[in-house]
């Protein structure tokens, strides 16, 4: 190709990617702009700007209650799935035992389960066996662990696979217990992977609708479900303002996760591995930036 042709091709690629970026960002941008608009119906260019929708969104009872509810559920679900997911990932990465490969696939299996099916199933499970769990933080967090665990196992597993087991063995040989060796030697090395997994798990749980909507009565729900139920009835500027707050929060956490992922090198690959786990299997974890 001639230099001019190459430059034209490069310009075309830049143009195409710019258009893609517009397509990706447009729905988010329109929400943010509309949330500052004085107009009742958003979507166009505002005729004036105001902050009152934010005030109203935070005063709106279902949203205020829902925000706290969502934070509690996400916190509980993240901690549980981090603890049990890390334990499982550690066992699978470091120990050789019969059934290891089977367990590895059991832990990614929930990814092929449609979330609505999981929601319906847990709803029936609660309705027929544990009525007390319906509409509680614990019940919903318990359900969310199903969605978070595969992700934690993949990210933490990828981080553990990149470590040198000799360090932990050295600690054991020098007389520290298995627990101490894990706590002082292994854990500090995977802390960024844990942070990335934790952030992603927290956001996933916080934003969850498809499973959660089955597990609570319509009058007291988590925030995204409250917004979903309200949008099914009507569009109004309080939802827009609340959406803007969520976009800001998500992007801040996304930036934090990106930084954490850079530190681990492989964690973003873990995100992809989870996304691709049901398809590509272990080779998916080869993706991700190589650590320098």
């Amino acid at each position: 190709m001639t230099p001019a042709g190459r430059r034209a091709a490069a310009a075309l690629r830049v143009l195409f990617l710019a258009l893609v970026a517009v397509f990706v960002l447009l729905p988010l941008a329109v929400v943010v702009v509309s949330s500052f608009s004085v107009d009742e119906t958003g979507g166009g260019w505002p005729s004036g700007f105001t902050l009152r929708w934010f005030q109203r969104a935070l005063d709106h009872e279902p949203f205020r209650v829902g925000l706290l509810y969502s934070l509690e559920v996400a916190g509980v679900a993240t901690v549980i799935s981090l603890v049990f997911g890390t334990m499982a990932a550690y066992a699978i990465a470091r120990h050789r035992f019969p059934g290891r490969e089977l367990l590895r696939s059991v832990f990614v299996m929930p990814l092929s389960l449609p979330r609505v099916v999981a929601g319906f199933c847990l709803f029936v499970l609660y309705a027929s066996l544990f009525p007390a769990a319906y509409g509680t933080v614990g019940g919903i967090a318990f359900a969310h662990c199903l969605l978070l665990m595969p992700f934690v196992v993949a990210v933490v597993g990828a981080a553990l696979a990149g470590l040198d087991p000799a360090l932990e063995e050295a600690a054991r040989d020098l007389g520290s217990s298995a627990g101490r060796a894990f706590w002082h030697v292994t854990l500090p090395q995977i802390r960024w992977a844990l942070l990335a997994a934790g952030i992603f798990a927290f956001i996933t749980s916080f934003d969850e609708v498809d499973t959660s909507v089955f597990l609570m009565p319509a009058d007291t729900t988590t925030l995204p479900v409250a917004m979903f139920l309200r949008l099914e009835q009507q569009q109004d500027p309080t939802v827009t303002a609340m959406s803007s707050i969520l976009i800001a929060g998500s992007l801040l956490l996304a930036a934090a996760a990106a930084v954490a992922a850079r530190r681990t090198g492989g964690a973003l690959g873990g995100v992809g591995a989870t996304a691709g786990a049901r398809t590509t299997g272990p080779e998916g974890s080869a993706e991700g930036e190589p650590t320098p």
Binding site: A21, G43, G44, V209, D210, G276, R278, T280, G284
Partner: protein, 298 residues
């Protein structure tokens, strides 16, 4: 955690291995038990509920195939099934066709910060609630919205649902393609060009076959996510477009649990069938690009 019990017959090494196994099982036990409980309950509860006609919360009810007959023969339910598959197929096709050039161009961005920024732009929407992203499209397509004039009538109809779903699933399609394009053996395209293959032929005979496994993986992921999507079709469809996931939810609200169970099982069956089908396809794709003339050409 299990304490070591004295087992004199074992050698020191053997004892160590048994102990190690016990520790491993103790570590995976809580997570695995939880998952097994859920999987078992899915099979038992869904199957049990789908084979009854009355809504009761008892675990055992009289066996009845009426619900299945309704799920599979009622015209409305069949239309829902057909919509689910049609929307799934269209969204998969459009998303992968859009994602492929995105992945290709992304890998050719020279400046590292531009590449990083573009990656962030494309992947960070995964972290924004699906409700918010769908709402953005409702605003854009709605009356007085930025695109409301050009794309009139898309909101609360299938095109709007498809557009929003393509937007939601796009990052998931780009990811496997990036991996696959990155693993392209260096120089094959230049070699094809040097041998005189025109661009379209290079695409058809070199690029696409070598990245077939990435395309299959990407399509599989998008299809699986799309057929089980709930919030986006509910909001953009506005009750006029109904897919299986919504139908399950609506049937629960109307206290038709058995029908909801049958439809949930149908949804699960579609998800698993697609998984199996695409796994076969990807094996085929792999075999093709490992064929003799490809060999170990690096």
């Amino acid at each position: 955690m299990t304490r070591e019990t004295p087992a004199p017959a074992l050698t020191k090494e053997g004892r160590g291995r048994t102990r190690e196994r016990r520790v491993a099982y103790a570590l995976v036990a809580p997570g695995a038990a939880y998952l097994v409980l859920i999987f078992l309950s899915i099979v038992l509860l869904l199957v049990s509920y789908s084979f009854r006609t009355e809504q009761t919360s008892r675990l055992i009810a009289p066996f009845d195939t009426g619900t299945w007959a309704e799920a599979l023969s009622n015209p409305y339910n069949l239309a829902v099934l057909w919509t689910t598959l049609r929307v799934g197929a269209l969204v998969t096709l459009l998303t992968v066709v859009l994602a492929y050039p995105i992945a290709w161009c992304l890998l050719r961005v020279r400046r590292w910060w531009v590449a990083g920024l573009l990656m962030f732009v494309i992947f960070s929407p995964i972290l924004v609630s699906v409700v918010v992203r769908s709402y953005g499209w409702m605003l854009l397509l709605g009356h007085g919205g930025l695109l409301g004039g050009v794309l009139r009538g898309w909101l609360y109809h299938e095109p709007g649902v498809i557009l929003a779903l393509v937007h939601v699933e796009l990052p998931f399609a780009v990811f496997p393609l990036l991996a696959s394009l990155r693993n392209l053996p260096p120089g094959v395209l230049e070699a094809a060009a040097d041998l005189g293959a025109p661009p379209l032929r290079r695409l058809r005979t070199v690029l696409l076959p070598l990245t077939a496994s990435g395309i299959v993986a990407s399509a599989q992921l998008v299809f699986a996510l799309t057929v089980s999507a709930f919030a986006t079709p509910s909001l953009l469809g506005g009750g006029r477009v109904t897919v299986l996931a919504q139908s399950v939810y609506q049937n629960i609200q109307q206290l038709r649990w058995p029908l909801a169970a049958a439809q949930a099982l149908l949804l699960l069956a579609i998800a698993l069938a697609v998984l199996a089908l695409f796994n076969r396809l990807s094996r085929y794709a792999d075999v093709r690009h490992r064929s003799p003339e490809g060999g170990d050409s690096r």
